[in-house]
Amino acid sequence: MQRIGVFVCHCGSNIAATVDVKKVVEMAALEPGVVHAEDYQYMCSEAGQSLIAKAIQEKQLTGLVVCSCSPRMHETTFRKAAERAGLNPYMVEIANIREHCSWIHKDMEEATRKAVILARAAIAKVNLNTPLQPGESRVTKRALVIGGGIAGIQTALDIADAGYEVDIVEKTPSIGGRMSQLDKTFPTLDCSACILTPKMVEAAAHERIRIYTYSEVEKVSGFVGDFTVDIRKKARSVDMDKCTGCGVCQEKCPSKKTPSEFNRGLNNRSAIYTPFAQAIPNVPVIDREHCIKFQTGKCGVCAKVCQAGAIDYEQKDEIVTEKYGAIVVATGFDTIKLDQYDEYAYSQSKDVITSLELERIMNAAGPTKGHLERLSDGKPPKEMVFIQCVGSRCADERGKSYCSKICCMYTAKHAMLIRDKYPDVNVTVFYIDVRTPGKNFDEFYRRAVEQYGVNYIKGQVGKVIPQPDGKLLVQGVDLLDNRRIMKEADMVVLATAIEPNPDVRKIATMLTASIDTNNFLTEAHAKLRPVESPTAGIFLSGVCQGPKDIPETVAQAGAAAVKAIGLLAKEKLTTNPCTAKSDELLCNGCSVCANVCPYGAITYEERQVNDHGIREVRRLAVVNSALCQGCGACTVACPSGAMDLQGFSNRQIIAEVDAICR
């Protein structure tokens, strides 16, 4: 018989205001096996934990039930406390009387009744608990960073500087990401390339960083500390070792009609290309879809002009398999497609552009060499209109429900830069709300208005009406004085909502990392574990977790690196002892369990057993506890009940069911 102690937490008033904790203590004390029950203000506090330790020792407790917040919050805390007091940590169960009770029920009597039942269920379970010993698994001292934008680069640099090997896998031909497409950055107006390029170079030169560009993660298996990852290195058609990056091939390439991804399709690139001048590695790739040689078999100009003989039309995709201890996701974002927002005439006029396109136009290396001009006729604009919240903050399926967070600031930046460089251009911003939380952010926005004379009008635009003369009539309303605005503009810039990179779904599935309804990766805890995925060993860096600006991204990238370093620094990981185990006397050896095991953790062996005097050789299931992750699929597939899950055994769950239905 167990000797169980029950500890009921008030959680200040979080629990005690709706649950009569004294009553819970009183009722719990009547349950079989319970020899001690008490309540306390904050059970998770040091004082609360020492109460528990004291009771364990004084009452020789063999099991604990803590009635408190969610086990996802403090199960570990209490298990560690029990361990320090000499009790096996797996003899502790939590009754969640906060998230599942006090916070959602209003009636005290009802909530108390439920709390008592939840306590009973936990007590019934602990009565059947057995001490479990965690195993150990090794840690591969290498990290994988998926995505080579500023988030991925920063994370990789921090991990590498701490002394660990890091691989970056980047889908495009160069690292750099979205930041490399930006012209200036708010709120200090630094040149984006000036601050990013050194980091790119540093990453490329770092002795502990390997960069796989033009590559994608293909398959992930394993678990925290011991992931095995297949990386597909797409055929570049250029030998990385031979290429000198002279650029002659790009110059001579006769196929120059492919819209440049880097310049957002505003101009064209050659079929053999590097996305931009500072690309790292400075080795071009052949876009086979647009290459004349690959499409027709005739051409081969690049191979002819290449002095280094680096062009290799025969190159094939290559799969590299690597082991990693930790994986950081830094897949970033893209802007949404605007075909559902054609009231803004994006597809009808070349002079309606997205903010990211404006970045390229403003950039000296961009399609207009940094001159602000209309893409339709190359004329400089006199009137510019910015429309905010295009596709953000939407309740319908056309857009995104969230605020994209960066648009208010970059719009102020654009407005300011234009007014600064072209003082004769009038700039009008249509906004719903201006959101500028951040250091020096509101000051920045106010400067745009007060110092640079940017005209902010409150009210979302209804329609952009292209005029026969090429002007754009912006139909809006000034909500503050109920006035219709019909503004004639030369260019309209849409602050287009951002969304997670569409590939992230596929990656999340491979990593079994959860994703929210907007395709942002979910963090383990919204406040306390913001850079970790709930899946152990997976960390989140940058916009893949939620909209962020550059400083926030860099901060989070560093935080993700620290978490990954914390993992890599460990020699061994303790493994979850809640794994499946087969009862050899009941096992039929039928293989049904192995058929459903996602980890290949079940094998079979012929072994002699002694079944109540009958000695015979039987085919028996054996669980590899290092591979088993404890899902329990096998336990239900097993018809004889031989397979059971430690910590969530059949009898334990049935005891909980019985206690709840009692």
């Binding site: 939840l118 079994t512 979910t522």
Partner: protein, 146 residues
């Protein structure tokens, strides 16, 4: 005024640790209410739920049993919920075949981010059980307290 003989259904909710239990936690921290009749049992994955558990609950007097897990494709263990989906579909079909109202059992996929969905689902389910009334068909009568 005290309500006489007010039906207080017993409802067991099995929630997978990674998505639905976290979704229930989120419902809690967002203060999204649902009736206290629902009691949650934490399991590692929806595929841990044995039909035996569900029948046992009914045997012991439960009026409804709901199983919540990660959305298909999002299982923490990759594939657990796919097995659970087949198992529960067949089990529910069998219960229906035996004349048990099929509203008493339900499977819902609730992610860690879907606190709202969790609370909505529970509210709907409790309402459904109210409309079906006390479960007398499956119960082991000895378990009933009179």
């Amino acid at each position: 005024m005290p309500m006489k003989d007010e039906f207080k259904p017993k409802i067991v909710a099995f929630c997978c640790n990674w998505c639905s239990y976290a979704g229930a936690d989120l419902a809690g921290s967002s203060r999204l209410t649902y009736p206290a009749d629902v009691k949650i049992i934490r399991v590692p994955c929806s595929c841990r739920v044995n039909p035996m558990f569900i029948l046992r609950a009914f045997e012991k007097g439960a009026d409804g049993v709901i199983l919540c897990g990660c959305h298909p494709g999002d299982c923490h263990y990759s594939t657990g919920n796919y097995y659970a989906r087949r198992r529960m579909t067949l089990l529910f079909s069998m219960l229906d075949y035996l004349g048990v109202e099929n509203g008493r059992t339900r499977v819902e996929w609730v992610s860690a981010a879907e606190g709202v969905k969790f609370s909505q689902t529970m509210n709907e389910f409790v309402e459904k059980i109210h409309s079906l009334g006390k479960n007398v068909r499956l119960e082991d009568l000895r378990c009933r307290k009179e």
